[in-house]
């Protein structure tokens, strides 16, 4: 599917701090709204931050199509994200969007979503979307600690949520790959969607391969343009070097050289 990409100044209608490192930006579009799909992302311009030269990519976290609104869930990493965390209601945020492909529509109802770190971001939109397809997924989310968990109630609207924390203060202790859901001899899922740090996605992909479960991951390679022209974001696939911002960010793990 081909989407028309916009460069637009959106209005920040809410900046909600979730905890020390995470915040939610709710944005209002004025233009006719493009179709948005789960897995797609935006390239945000960080204004007046001298050390932030390039745009910053963020997944679409959830959408409100009738009101032409959507949200970004952002983890503060460095200067760019810190700057964005200071945005106030009424401020403008310039985005290029929508970018990239999307998660595929599953052919099974036995779906697992796995997210860790800021990789949980696209999974809420995906869960919303799956509900519209009459699918209620199992959602496994990894956090550092109880203090860092957020939006569990929100995810619970669309699926059955399990969590892990590094320190065991909530859910099971450990990494998402260590969760008991994934330790059974035979897993209950026919499709896994995963987003998070590379090491985590690779471990999930290994489990999926072992159990012969179809698995899609959303890659977060560093990007310069985000719309296919610089060739900086590539990943090796069965078709050679492909652009994560165009042919991805979502790839079936069968196609990756992992």
């Amino acid at each position: 599917m081909v989407f028309k990409k916009n460069v637009e100044d959106l209005t920040v209608i809410r900046n909600l701090r979730l905890n020390q490192r995470h915040f939610l930006l709710e944005l209002q579009s004025e233009q006719p709204f493009s179709l948005l799909l789960p897995g797609q992302f935006v390239q945000a311009l960080v204004k007046d931050s001298p050390s932030t030269f390039l745009r910053r990519p963020f997944s679409i976290h959830s959408v409100d199509i009738p009101n032409k609104r959507f949200r970004l869930l952002i983890q503060i990493k460095g200067q760019g994200t810190r700057h964005l965390s200071l945005l106030k209601e009424g401020d403008k945020l310039n985005l290029i969007y929508p970018l990239g492909n999307s998660f595929s529509i599953p052919t099974t109802k036995d779906v697992l979503l796995v997210g860790g770190g800021c990789g949980v971001a696209p999974l809420l939109f995906l869960a919303q979307f799956l509900n519209q397809q009459k699918i209620r997924p199992v959602i496994l989310l990894g956090f550092r600690s109880q203090e860092e968990t957020f939006e569990i109630e929100e995810y619970s609207k669309y699926g059955t949520v399990f969590i892990t924390t590094d320190d065991g203060t909530a859910g099971e202790k450990g990494l998402v790959v260590d969760h008991s859901l994934l330790q059974k001899e035979k897993l209950d899922f026919r499709k896994i969607y995963c987003c998070g740090p590379d090491a985590m996605m690779k471990s999930i992909a290994r489990i999926a391969r072992w159990h012969k479960i179809d698995c899609e991951v959303s890659l977060e390679n560093t990007m310069a343009c985000g719309f296919g022209v610089c060739l900086c974001c590539i990943t090796p696939t069965d078709k050679g070097n492909e652009r994560v911002c165009m042919e991805g960010p979502v790839f079936n793990t069968k196609r990756l050289k992992w």
């Binding site: 028309k4 990409k5 916009n6 460069v7 311009l45 001298p50 050390s51 932030t52 030269f53 390039l54 745009r55 290029i96 390679n221 560093t222 990007m223 310069a224 343009c225 985000g226 719309f227 296919g228 022209v229 610089c230 060739l231 900086c232 974001c233 590539i234 990943t235 090796p236 050679g240 070097n241």
Partner: protein, 305 residues
């Protein structure tokens, strides 16, 4: 009063001096959502080599203060693929399509130039003798004057249209290289390509790029680019196309004053895909404000007395 933005580049009339730099504009198609290529003077498409090249391994990009390093390494599907798959699409654009030709050997440059010569809607090639991101050749041709003359002259023999040569800034005397390519038969000189640089991740004690070094672009290189355009403009008689860190119309005007007959917008396209057309408007506004009839009056018009 109508302001005349058109410029004459070795017999080609660009409708305005604003063009887009190779490797930062894809094959133009990716920009169709953002702008109409017909509003630009020309577009320079991504490097084409004789055979398919996969380019370098990831990571290929590091952000730096006021710029970025890349080590893409001329990833492209080769000249046959360009002629067969890309050309039929880009030839429909209402602007000049100029192909950036790269190679590792003189023979490879000649082979690609011969094939591009057959494409009716491509009025010029830009020989890239300045890519820092390939092991063999590339930049070497652009740093040794005798080699620069040799590769230019070899291509000149087979290429019948406008021959542009893009210079590397990674040299001690840019004017020596400029004179060398003019001697080889270049009609136009483009400069600058990226400056060789490097980025280190101190926490991991590792280079950021898979290739360790890469090419620096963006506003960080603008002063170097301006200086080189100025020196080359004074040293040779052929038109100069200037680039390096141009982000807005003021930057573009500075290059034109330094001696560029046209300019290219590169890395700025990543940050604002509409930067090039905004620069066209900004130049028009500058002419208006200074009551200048034609942009041609500004080429090399820097006042140094």
């Amino acid at each position: 009063m109508m302001r005349d933005l058109s410029v004459d580049i070795a017999g080609l009339t660009f409708r305005n001096p604003v063009t887009t730099a190779s490797g930062t504009f894809g094959y133009g198609e990716e920009f169709l959502d953002f702008l109409d290529p017909g509003q630009l003077g020309a577009i320079f498409v991504k490097a084409v080599t004789a055979k398919n090249r996969d380019g370098n391994a990831y990571p290929r990009m590091a952000e730096t203060t006021g710029g970025m390093l890349n080590s893409v390494g001329l990833q492209n599907k080769g000249v046959d693929h360009f002629c067969r798959e890309i050309y039929p699409k880009v030839k429909k654009f209402d602007t000049y399509i100029i192909v950036n030709v790269s190679g590792s050997t003189v023979e490879e440059y000649v082979e690609v130039a011969e094939q591009i010569n057959e494409l009716e809607k491509v009025p010029a090639i830009e020989l890239n003798i300045s890519c820092p991101n390939v092991k063999l050749g590339g930049m070497a041709f652009g740093t040794v004057p005798a080699m620069a003359t040799e590769v230019t002259a070899a291509v000149r023999k087979v290429y019948k249209k406008v021959l542009m040569v893009k210079l590397s800034p990674n040299v001690t005397h840019i004017t020596d290289i400029a004179k060398a390519v003019v001697e080889g038969g270049a009609d136009v000189i483009t400069l600058i390509n990226t400056l060789l640089g490097m980025a280190i991740d101190a926490e991991r004690r590792r280079p950021v790029l898979s290739t360790i070094t890469g090419g620096l672009s963006g506003p960080a290189i603008k002063p170097v680019a301006l200086r080189m355009v100025w020196q080359v403009h004074k040293a040779v008689a052929v038109p100069v196309i200037g680039l390096g860190g141009i982000m807005n119309a003021t930057d573009a005007i500075e290059f034109i004053l330094a001696g560029a007959s046209a300019i290219q917008v590169g890395t700025a396209n990543f940050i604002d895909p509409q930067a090039s057309i905004k620069i066209v408007e900004g130049i028009r506004e500058y002419l208006e404000r200074h009551k200048i009839a034609s942009i041609k009056e500004l080429v090399g018009a820097l006042r140094t007395e």
